[in-house]
């Protein structure tokens, strides 16, 4: 029975991916992409990766979808010009050949995978007790491959710096995004008042439970960022000017703590980001609690966009 479900899911996902290719309107293609992301969440559940499913739902289809929908709405005027540039038959044939070769190579690789599959699950299980967390993915992210997570947090910060660097000179250091005027008695303002308290609890809960059950700081931070963005969109809060000191301190706080723990590990435990015996769980908690607000603010500001208004 699950075989039929998997086959159906795979077919619908392929159909949606084709839709994003052949849809005439860019907005329709983006909406198809958001639905495709949500169905991919189901694929992750079928592949038993619940943490990845949460991240895909939150970041892959949630935040990316919001980003793309806003861009598609702003770029509506370029539709006709783009349609005039449609490629000829030769380009399509070359593209089809390239796509076919890539698909064939990957399919051969999938069918030729070694059996029994090599796996690191037993080693992770053996060393899990030393980290003090119950969720193996959290243990891998913050104990065995903590370097990757640290660099990932810094990469997200770099993306934000890249977004800010695109501000025009007149709005340098100003508030991101246009001023949102929503009816204070309207439904959007109501939603922005009713949902954020619930979202706050859900976001912190998902972050907190990530130590032992599927969850974690990326998923929780995304929910917190989304709640703040909802308040900004409804006009209940305004995006702060990006030159504010407290904002910049909040952004770098998480990565700085992470690097500090790493350097302390080099001093006391012999290697960068090594945890001394018995201190693994508290150090992981410190890093997570420092990273959560930084990540939430970073993700929200990436969505808020380029500074457009001078700070007044």
């Amino acid at each position: 029975m699950t075989e039929a479900l998997n086959v159906g899911l795979a077919l619908v996902i392929l159909a949606l991916a084709l839709w994003t290719v052949v849809a005439r309107d860019t907005f329709a293609a983006v909406v198809g992409f958001v639905a495709y992301g949500l169905l991919l969440t189901l694929v992750w559940v079928q592949l038993r990766g619940i943490d990845v499913a949460l991240t895909e739902a939150a970041l892959g289809s949630g935040l990316t979808g919001a980003l793309l929908i806003r861009a598609a709405a702003r770029l509506r005027k370029t539709e006709s010009a783009a349609r005039a540039e449609r490629p000829g038959v030769l380009t399509r044939i070359v593209a089809l050949l390239a796509a076919g070769c890539v698909t064939a190579a990957l399919a051969v690789a999938v069918l030729a995978l070694p059996d029994p599959a090599p796996t690191l699950a037993p080693e992770t299980a053996d060393n899990l007790a030393a980290t003090g967390v119950g969720n193996p993915i959290t243990a891998v992210l913050l104990a065995f491959r903590a370097m990757d997570t640290m660099l990932e947090a810094i990469v997200v910060l770099f993306a934000l710096v890249g977004v800010w660097s695109l501000a025009p000179d007149r709005a340098w250091g100003g508030r991101p995004g246009p001023l949102q005027r929503a009816d204070p008695d309207g439904i959007l303002a109501y939603l922005a008042r009713a949902l954020p308290p619930v979202g706050l609890v859900v976001g912190v809960y998902i972050f907190w439970i990530g130590a032992d059950l599927p969850g974690g700081k990326f998923q929780g931070a995304t929910i917190l960022a989304a709640m703040w963005l909802l308040a900004v969109m409804a006009g209940l809060a305004d995006a702060p000017p990006v030159s504010r000191t407290w904002l910049r301190l909040a952004l770098v706080g998480g990565p700085v703590v992470f690097i500090a723990v790493g350097v302390a590990g080099a001093a006391y435990a012999g290697a960068f980001l090594a945890y001394p015996d018995g201190l693994a769980k508290p150090l992981i908690k410190v890093i997570e609690w420092a990273l959560l607000p930084s990540l939430a603010v970073t993700l929200a500001l990436i969505l808020a966009g380029v500074p457009e208004r001078t700070s007044t």
């Binding site: 795979a10 943490d51 990845v52």
Partner: protein, 114 residues
């Protein structure tokens, strides 16, 4: 268990192919970014299928590739955000969002400083 992994692995291969085709064929940059995301998600699903095959020790999948996938998803989102912002700024400055090198100059004067 192996069948789900093989099925989704093949599906992922097809997704990457569809994304590559869309990347080359669609002239509008936002569609190219969407196609790039389709390719990226296909690669992630392929990796997830491999992680599912490595299930053991009571879990449904190998946790190390799955943790790397979470990292990959976050970095892919960051790259998409930067690409979309670049595209929007290009549209604001040049009046048209096209990658063609010999695009005609926009009709409206460029009033914003850069």
């Amino acid at each position: 268990m192996t069948d789900a992994a093989t099925l989704f692995g093949l599906c992922a291969a097809a997704l990457v192919g569809i994304g590559v085709y869309a990347l080359i064929v669609n002239p509008q940059p936002l569609r190219k970014i969407v196609a790039f995301n389709v390719v990226g998600n296909g690669v992630f699903v392929l990796f997830g299928a491999i992680a599912h095959r490595g299930a053991g020790a009571g879990w449904g999948g190998d946790p190390v590739p799955q943790a790397l996938l979470i990292t990959g998803l976050v970095v892919a989102f960051s790259a998409t955000a930067l690409a979309v912002t670049l595209l929007l700024r290009l549209f604001e400055e040049a009046g048209s969002a096209t990658l063609a090198p010999d695009a005609p100059a926009p009709a409206k004067p460029d009033t914003s400083d850069g």
